[in-house]
């Protein structure tokens, strides 16, 4: 099963429409959490939102997760050790208020198991790839330092 998620804040029709077309040619179920507004997509098992527990279960059951470049999704993929295909939202297309998802995509593109795709063809190619590498929960040394600083401040 492929799980598509765009977060709770904003719809992302460019990604959902692309996944609907891709799903039409797949033998694999595609579950999509599509964000506010909803829509009609014939080839997706879709809903605007999911309760947190169902979200976690669906995430855990997925073979691959396809998503916007949200930090929550990236951290979830690392925690669940899933291959994550990321298509960043673009401000020029009205998909977010600024291009911070483009910046996030650039920053995480080199991390294990995080696969950035700019368009539908790139997503399709990644979904068809054999043994797509999974993300890993391996925090850098920066997390321990950040925690130590906060702990020291709390006293």
């Amino acid at each position: 099963m492929i799980f598509v998620t765009v977060g709770t804040q904003l719809a992302f029709p460019r990604l959902i429409d692309a996944m609907d077309r891709i799903a039409a040619g797949l033998d694999e179920a595609v579950i999509a959490q599509t964000g506010p507004g909803g829509g009609a997509w014939a080839h997706l098992d879709h809903r605007p939102g999911m309760p947190p527990a169902e979200f976690a279960e669906t995430f855990a059951a997925a073979r691959i997760v396809v998503a916007h470049a949200g930090i929550g999704t990236i951290l979830s993929a690392r925690g669940a050790r899933k291959p994550l295909v990321i298509m960043p939202r673009r401000a020029a297309l009205g998909e977010h208020r600024n291009d911070h998802q483009m910046a996030t995509a650039r920053q995480v593109a080199s991390m294990k198991g995080l696969h950035v795709a700019e368009d539908e063809a790139a997503i399709a190619a990644l979904l068809a790839a054999e043994g797509l590498e999974a993300a890993e929960e391996t925090p850098g040394p920066g997390r321990a330092r950040l925690i130590a600083r906060i702990r020291e401040f709390i006293g």
Binding site: P51, P52, R143, L146, I154
Partner: protein
């Protein structure tokens, strides 16, 4: 020394997940979590926890509802420390915390790799410790940098 009461606030989604990764920093304290999505804290085993309605700057009535919820929580819990990873409800939590003399921490979301978030800039005036998770952003904005959850 009395146990530190820590109010930890984050909107649902990535802000909340970053707060969860910082939990080891709260060990030894008495933590009360607040988020904007019902069921989220429970699904992470974060307890005790409460709910505050989400808001953004374009909806003044929603902002007032969030202020009311967080002010009530702060007056009841009397935190020594308020920490948030964002977004706007977190800024409100820091401001409410200041009213009861709490020390406050803002950790700007790691999603903001090029500039401080708008909430982060608002939080500056309420935060004793004002952190970006990107060294170059911290330098450009005058924030502190101590590492990142990534």
């Amino acid at each position: 020394m009395t146990e530190r009461r820590i109010l930890a606030v984050a909107s649902g989604g990535g802000h909340w997940q970053q707060l969860m990764l910082l939990r080891p920093a709260f060990e030894g304290g008495s933590v009360f979590y607040v988020t904007t999505l019902r069921g989220l804290a429970e699904s992470h085993g974060a307890a005790p926890a409460g709910f505050a309605p989400d808001c953004n700057r374009n909806e003044p009535v929603a902002v007032l509802r969030t202020v009311a919820a967080l002010l009530w929580r702060v007056l009841r819990f009397r935190p020594h420390v308020v920490i948030s990873t964002g977004a706007l409800p977190g800024v409100i939590a820091l401001a409410c915390g200041r009213l009861v003399g709490a020390r406050t921490i803002w950790v700007d979301s790691v999603a903001n790799a090029e500039e401080m978030s708008m909430s982060g800039r608002l939080a500056r005036r309420f935060a004793h410790l004002w952190l970006s998770q990107w060294e170059h952003v911290a330098k450009a904005e005058g924030a502190d940098y101590a590492g990142s959850v990534l």
